[in-house]
């Protein structure tokens, strides 16, 4: 059986140019975690249902478990590792902590990336809009309510209210 030839990928992750070698069938979540040692991005379901693997790809919110690593060539990726500014947490991260909106934390990186994408596009969403926007982020621990409150609260901080 022939072995797949590895693919060389040059991409930008959280503003830094970076390169890696991947298998043709490898997905982006796996390359981030195993080739680039960026384990902030989680993989839960591997089928697009849970959102734990959420990243931004050229400004679009996507499931990195459903992106081939080779597709990252020449693109811009933003992961949860790029959200905080050094040691200063982003308002979404800060509010998730304050509201105790995480328990095991597996869903949290995906929630942070998705909520940031929402608040940057719609700075003042209604509760319903937050719930719909985050419908693809499953959490087995919190029951969601604290997450929704935290995101709404982060919105007020980001709007400077």
């Amino acid at each position: 059986m022939s072995n797949p030839k590895k693919i060389h990928v040059s991409t930008t992750v959280n503003g830094e140019p970076c390169e890696f070698l991947c298998e043709p069938g490898q997905v982006l979540s796996n390359a981030l975690r195993n080739n680039l040692d960026m384990t902030g991005t989680k993989e839960g379901c591997s089928t697009g249902d849970c959102g734990a693997c959420s990243v931004m790809l050229d400004g679009a919110l996507v499931c990195s478990c459903l992106v081939l690593a080779a597709e990252a060539e020449g693109r811009t990726i933003e992961t949860v590792e790029g959200v905080a500014d050094g040691n200063a947490l982003h308002p979404i991260q800060q509010k998730l902590l304050e509201h105790a909106a995480l328990q095991c934390g597996i869903c949290t990186p995906g929630i942070v990336v998705a909520a940031k994408s929402l608040l940057e596009r719609h700075p003042d969403p209604s509760e319903e809009e937050v719930r719909y926007y985050l419908a693809g982020n499953l959490c087995r621990c919190t029951g969601y309510d604290k997450i929704i409150r935290a995101v709404l609260d982060a919105g007020t901080v980001m709007r400077g209210e």
Binding site: K5, P24, G25, C65, L68, A70, E73, Y133, G136, N137
Partner: protein, 289 residues
């Protein structure tokens, strides 16, 4: 067998070349069906051809004739577009219903159509809008109406070396609109038990002068239901026309019983959805004229 090769052609000619003679290849648009199927072991292509670098597949052209939508344009790009939703609100709501915000970042109308799920949400809305498919193959181009594109669950009319390039939606006439409704047991992230799309044109007096009705998830492919449209045309979307359109849709439906619903239930629900979608399309026309 693992995926052996990934190609990202940057022109239609290159894409055709990459696919030529390769019955073991699959085209990749947003991957929200294909990569799921590969990860679940349901498909194992040796070659994946990513068509998102081919300009014709990523373009949106809106003109006198209507909309030409590149087959691989992601849902979020369409739902964010300032004009498409005004012309085809039903189509845009159907595309926007697919998956979550994350899925919207990738899922395309072309992939939704080519994947040929009987429950694919944007297909009935395309049919109601008289959409046609521009297909490129080794012998040149051909055009197929959306209602004739899919041939059964997971099967479509494309040969292995053909590519769906774009989808054309003709520009609706004055006093026209459309709507799509689906029924799912929850409010988000689920697959349609039944779906219905209705496109209408009314005259000044509110009489329906043109209609197209299409239903989804109630037959092996989405169906155009001319009898339902005929029931609406000539009337004022009064109770009697709506009853007849609804009955015609229930009659045309040929669903299966599965965990989502029984035959009887789906036939009944699809009729209700047609009636309601017609009401929504009518209200949209009245709101803008």
């Amino acid at each position: 067998m693992p995926l052996l090769q990934y190609e990202a052609p940057t022109s239609l000619a290159q894409a055709r070349q990459a696919l030529a003679g390769r019955s073991d290849a699959k085209i990749l648009a947003g991957g929200t069906d294909l990569l799921v199927q590969m990860r679940l072991g349901l498909r194992d292509p040796a070659l994946v051809v990513d068509i998102k670098h081919v300009p014709e597949l990523m373009e949106i052209t809106l003109g006198e004739q209507g909309l030409r939508l590149g087959a691989a344009v992601p849902g979020a790009v369409v739902t964010d577009h300032p004009e498409i939703g005004q012309l085809y609100p039903g189509f845009v709501e159907a595309l926007g219903l697919i998956g979550s915000s994350q899925i919207q970042g990738r899922c395309s109308a072309g992939g939704n159509l080519c994947n040929a799920s009987p429950a694919a949400d944007c297909v009935p809305a395309l049919i109601a809008n008289r959409a046609t498919c521009n297909i490129m193959g080794p012998d040149g181009e051909r055009t197929v109406a959306v209602e004739a594109f899919n041939t059964g669950p997971a099967s479509n009319c494309l040969a292995a070396d053909e590519i769906l390039v774009s989808i054309d939606l003709p520009r609706p006439g004055p006093r026209s609109s459309d709507a799509y409704l689906r029924f799912i047991p929850r409010t988000e992230m689920d697959i349609a038990v039944a779906g219905a799309a209705v496109a209408l044109s009314l005259d000044e007096a509110g009489v329906c002068i043109d209609a197209r009705v299409a239903i989804g998830a109630v037959a092996p492919t989405a169906l155009l239901v001319p009898a339902a449209a005929d029931a609406l045309i000539g009337g004022t979307l009064d109770e009697d026309s709506l009853n007849r359109a609804s009955a015609a849709a229930s009659e045309a439906a040929a669903p299966i019983t599965d965990k989502r619903g029984t035959v009887e239930y789906r036939k009944k629900v699809v009729g209700v959805l047609v009636r309601r979608a017609a009401g929504v399309a009518k209200a949209r026309i009245e709101a803008t004229s």
